[in-house]
């Protein structure tokens, strides 16, 4: 299935809306979009909206995590939103949903 990506920016928050399947073949497109978003002047936070993603494999998880790290290194906010169904479950089972969906500074809260 095709991957479609659309971006819009409001008050420094750049939202990347993703639709379709995120796998090894389609990941490079999102990778480029995230890197572009992070280097767009005036952007203070990037949001990756997965509401319309129907499948997501391990390469996509790696990509979303890399985006998070790259944003953190540049002092830009980063949040993955809207994951649901199949997509949400895979992010939860692999233990990355809490990290990706927000509160990166809250990371220590996980610690026991």
């Amino acid at each position: 299935m095709e991957l479609t990506i659309s971006s819009h920016q409001q008050d420094g928050v750049l939202t990347i809306a993703v639709a379709g399947d995120l796998d090894l073949l389609t990941c490079p497109t999102l990778d480029t979009a995230i890197l572009q978003a992070l280097s767009t002047a005036g952007v203070t936070a990037v949001r990756v909206d997965l509401s319309s993603v129907e499948f997501l494999d391990s390469s996509a998880i790696a990509l979303l995590l890399k985006g998070h790290r790259a944003a953190h290194e540049r002092g830009i906010g980063y949040q993955v939103t809207g994951a649901q169904g199949v997509t949400r479950v895979v992010l939860e089972v692999t233990g990355v949903w809490e990290h990706l969906s927000g509160r990166p500074d809250d990371h220590q809260a996980n610690q026991r």
């Binding site: 499948f55 998880i61 790696a62 995590l65 890399k66 790290r69 199949v86």
Partner: protein
């Protein structure tokens, strides 16, 4: 009439040229022979003195003379041209055809071209899937014009060479990756007293061999380590990173028996030395009395525990972030009673388009019954019969031997 005749001759010539380089007999040649045959035909068709193919090396920064006709010296000497420099280097950098009306030190860096007294040259990029893989060029000792039709022919040969070059790259990469995998993943894991062990590695249908690995070793303290992991990406690069991560994990396992501590150290090493890499891993340590199992998960699916009657359940361990995902990610370990058997696997076994991963895992659990480690592996891979895995699959099963 004359004009008509010329036109037909031109068309005939075009057709002859086209057939010469798209000849299906070419595809039966070994790749190196094919490139040599292509440069030979190109030189003949264009009436030039030389024709040569240079391909990018694995770094992507230098062109290496690979096939030549009239310039054999170039291949024998293994001439290397940096991308962006000299004639071929400029063609590779721009990805555009280039015609050189004067060959001298200001336009080329390869001494052989000057020694051969070439007067003019024409070159085109060799591309495949939009990527520049090399350069094809021809040269003449006497001044001549290169027409649009000449450039079109060179491009056609370039396309044919591109297909061959890409096939060669993927074949080499695949062979090297498979060799590396074989050396790192013994089909029969080492025997460990009191345990029956089996493992499988199944290359994915879509991506081929990649960065999955499994490992099993006994420590001097009597602890037994069981590992499974998956480096993001595929091909040679992922396999090389996998080899390094696997070795580093073994080294840290000698330092501490706490799996969370081992993965924390491993993560720190990856963040520093492999900043581009990311990997998931499940690391389990069996205590010297064989009574407990301590597990830490780095973004990996939980291992499956089986009792002697074949009841299977995933070990209840909260997963932490994958290795290389984020600096200083906290890591946890959970200790459970050592069951009759455990099965560690990579996500290729349960990743299905259109299916919730937890449902695939539930299917896997019902497929498993008691048996030897080898039987457990066979039962587990049975789930792939109807839906071959797109991604690589690695799994390792460890069973307690019945006390005599």
């Amino acid at each position: 009439m004359t004009a008509m005749g010329t036109r037909t001759d031109e068309d005939g010539e075009q057709l002859r040229r086209l057939l010469a380089v798209t000849d299906s007999a070419l595809s039966r040649l070994d790749i190196d022979d094919l490139l040599t045959e292509l440069v030979s035909r190109t030189r003949e068709l264009m009436g030039t003195d030389t024709a040569a193919i240079l391909l990018l090396d694995s770094s992507g920064r230098e062109l290496v003379a690979t096939a030549a006709c009239g310039l054999e010296e170039e291949v024998r000497q293994g001439v290397r041209i940096p991308v962006g420099e000299g004639f071929a280097g400029r063609v590779a950098a721009s990805g555009q055809p280039l015609i050189l009306h004067h060959v001298d030190r200001s336009t080329v860096i390869n001494q052989i071209l000057i020694d051969e007294r070439l007067a003019v040259m024409a070159g085109v990029p060799i591309t495949a899937s939009g990527r520049v893989l090399g350069v094809l060029h021809v040269g003449s000792r006497t001044p001549r014009q290169f027409t649009d039709a000449d450039i079109d022919l060179l491009r056609l040969v370039g396309d044919r060479a591109g297909m061959a070059a890409q096939a060669r790259i993927s074949r080499l990469d695949r062979q090297t990756t498979v060799a590396l995998q074989r050396s790192l993943l013994p089909v029969r894991p080492p025997a460990i007293d009191g345990f029956d062990v089996a493992a499988r590695y199944i290359p994915g249908a879509e991506v081929g061999v990649g960065g999955d690995w499994y490992d099993l070793f006994a420590l001097p303290s009597g602890h037994i380590s069981v590992v499974i992991g998956d480096v993001a990406g595929n091909g040679l690069r992922a396999a090389v990173v996998m080899g390094r991560i696997r070795s580093a994990l073994r080294a840290y396992a000698l330092e501490t028996h706490d799996p969370a501590d081992v993965l924390t150290r491993l993560d720190r090493k990856i963040q520093l030395f492999e900043p581009e890499a990311m990997a998931t891993a499940a690391y389990a340590v069996i205590d010297p009395t064989h009574s407990t199992l301590t597990v830490s998960l780095a973004g990996h699916l939980p291992p499956i525990l089986l009792d002697a009657t074949g009841n299977a359940r995933p070990v209840a361990v909260p997963p932490d972030l994958p290795l290389g995902a984020f600096p200083n990610a906290p890591r946890r370990a959970t200790t459970v009673a050592l069951p009759h058997a455990l099965l560690l696997y990579t996500d290729g076994l349960v990743e299905r388009r259109g299916q919730v991963i937890t449902d695939s895992i539930a299917d896997l659990l019902t497929t498993l019954t008691a048996g030897t480690a080898d039987e457990l592996c066979t039962q587990a891979t049975g789930v792939l019969h109807h839906a071959p895995a797109a991604d690589d699959v690695a799994l390792i099963a460890v069973c307690r031997r019945q006390q005599p």
